[in-house]
Subunit: 327 residues, 2 copies
């Protein structure tokens, strides 16, 4: 109800998480604007807002374009800043590009918000990989930031800016640290920097061979995208969360082997193959990750509700139905 | 001895801390190169290397100039990256410039090191203000980063990059978090972003009125520059410190009122005036700060040796002697 008749902007709103949030906001009766540069391999796709495209105001533009972002941010009650890069491997090759998009880009959105809509709630999509090399598990928000590659350092840099803009300029910023989010509209087109889940889903639907490094016992914390969207919506209407970093995780560990097997069981296709860890992957492997979710439960009353089996089922059905569009 | 006959580069080497380090390296028999852009108000000053200018290789250039930094970094055993901005107030007005110099600039130095001198020890001059709003005291390296303004966020962003470059590319980076460093060659020319100690020293030498906000009971952790230089030198020759953040602090709290009174007692001139906190200063005031120095004591065997009274005495005598040059 807090969103009905209000005005929101979603950066990266044609991407995976962004478009799911756009759809949820639209259903809540919110006027939604989107800014997205449709950069190749970042997941932006006009089809993601199929069916509501005429009711959503879409700015095709880059968050680093000062005029474009000021126009997009103007007269908003909520800014959901999701645009960015998330590929660890790409950032090894192109660290400056990654820094520009994540750190400079976020400052552009923050500055525009400060000038145009200083009272708006501002929710930033950070990542649990900002914690980097894990020392203690489950990982609370006070875990030190020990990024293992430039992308995670740059995502954390952007998050630190949201904290600074809250403290110095009074912006109502919330820094979410998303764990592995999966679900409908994720990017499953083959490209170098794609995440493991995107790749696994594609292979399972295609009946291919899912490759695990080592024995696949590495643990991740998976959150279905509808749960993630709910965390964004709650963060936007919880003033006590301003200036805080919050883990968005299920708190339930899932091994890569379990995830792969669940996918195969769901599709009834595909197989698993175990191979030795490649050197580069080993160097930036962040180790087992499970989020401590007590802070977000306390501050937002949020917890993940969709279990792994259910989430995978919904994801697989979506892509089986829309394979022509997303493959 | 570890520095004798070796080759070091000091970015920002014509500035306050940089030039004191350059002098120490030179005395140890190290070949020293300097890159400095002599930007106004950042403290770079050719006079800081007076007496050794013909034995130091000086590149006047910007760390963000790819060719200049690659030339400067080539064939070095040690890189001391000190160039950057440190003004909190300036960063409120010019957040992008601050981000460019600190975050983009540091990545330029890291990338150049990775390409040209990947085996060099790399020591980064971060700041205790990266901790921002202090929650627990004394402040250990695991204290969360809660920057209160863009400069501290950007300095922390640069530090996170040094961690990432250690993890991903094997660079031997050490992230020092310097507390308030003071001493000969600090910037005492009047400008908007100058630190309190710079200002206090100038006023005490001139016999002016030192203005304290509130009752001056705010606590800082002061380190004399020779101690700070020793921390850099030890960090450069301690492989176990690679990938670590280390507090460079005295661990001994000093109130602004005590510092001001010690200055006045030392010069025999000047006075103290207490005024209410201005709004802007209150918003970005980081609160009392005392460093937990157990980690640097353990890893580097370093601790501050010059007490406040002694350090202030040496500082005042230097500036009384060189007032014509530095005022």
């Amino acid at each position: 109800m807090a969103y009905e008749g209000k005005r929101a902007l979603v950066t990266g709103g044609l991407g995976f998480i962004g478009s799911n949030l756009v759809r949820a906001l639209h259903e809540l009766g919110c006027y939604v604007g989107v800014i997205d540069n449709l950069a190749p391999d970042l997941g932006g796709n006009r089809y993601n807002v199929h069916g509501i495209e005429r009711e959503v105001e879409v700015f095709i533009g880059d968050i680093r374009d000062e005029k474009a972002i000021r126009d997009a941010v103007r007269e908003r009650d909520f800014i959901f800043h999701i645009a960015g890069t998330g590929s660890h491997l790409d950032s090894l090759e192109k660290p400056f590009q990654d820094l520009e998009i994540n750190a400079v880009g976020t400052m552009c959105v923050l500055e525009a918000t400060r000038r145009e809509s200083p009272a708006a709630a501002f929710v930033y999509a950070g990542t649990r990989s900002e914690y980097g090399a894990i020392r203690t598990s489950p990982v609370s928000e006070d875990h030190p930031l020990l990024p293992t590659e430039p992308n995670s350092a740059n995502k954390a840099a952007a998050g630190l800016q949201t904290i600074a803009y809250h403290q110095a300029f009074g912006l109502q910023t919330v820094w979410l640290r998303l764990t592995n989010i999966y679900g409908p509209r994720m990017l499953v087109r083959q490209h170098a920097g794609m995440g493991f889940m995107n790749w696994f889903v594609r292979l399972a639907v295609d009946g291919g061979s899912i490759r695990l490094y080592g024995d696949g016992s590495q643990v991740r914390d998976m959150v279905y995208v509808d749960d993630c969207v709910r965390a964004f919506l709650l963060a936007g209407v919880t003033p006590e969360a301003a200036g805080e970093a919050l883990n968005v995780g299920s708190g339930a560990p899932a091994s890569l082997a379990t995830i792969a097997q669940t996918l195969i069981d769901t599709t009834g296709r595909g197989s698993i193959e175990c191979v030795p860890f490649p050197d580069e992957a080993k160097r930036i492997e962040i180790g087992d990750y499970v989020a401590d979710t007590s802070k977000i439960e306390r501050l937002l009353g949020w917890r993940a509700e969709v279990g792994l089996k259910d989430g995978i089922e919904r994801t697989v059905r979506f892509f089986e139905e829309h394979k022509d569009t997303y493959w």
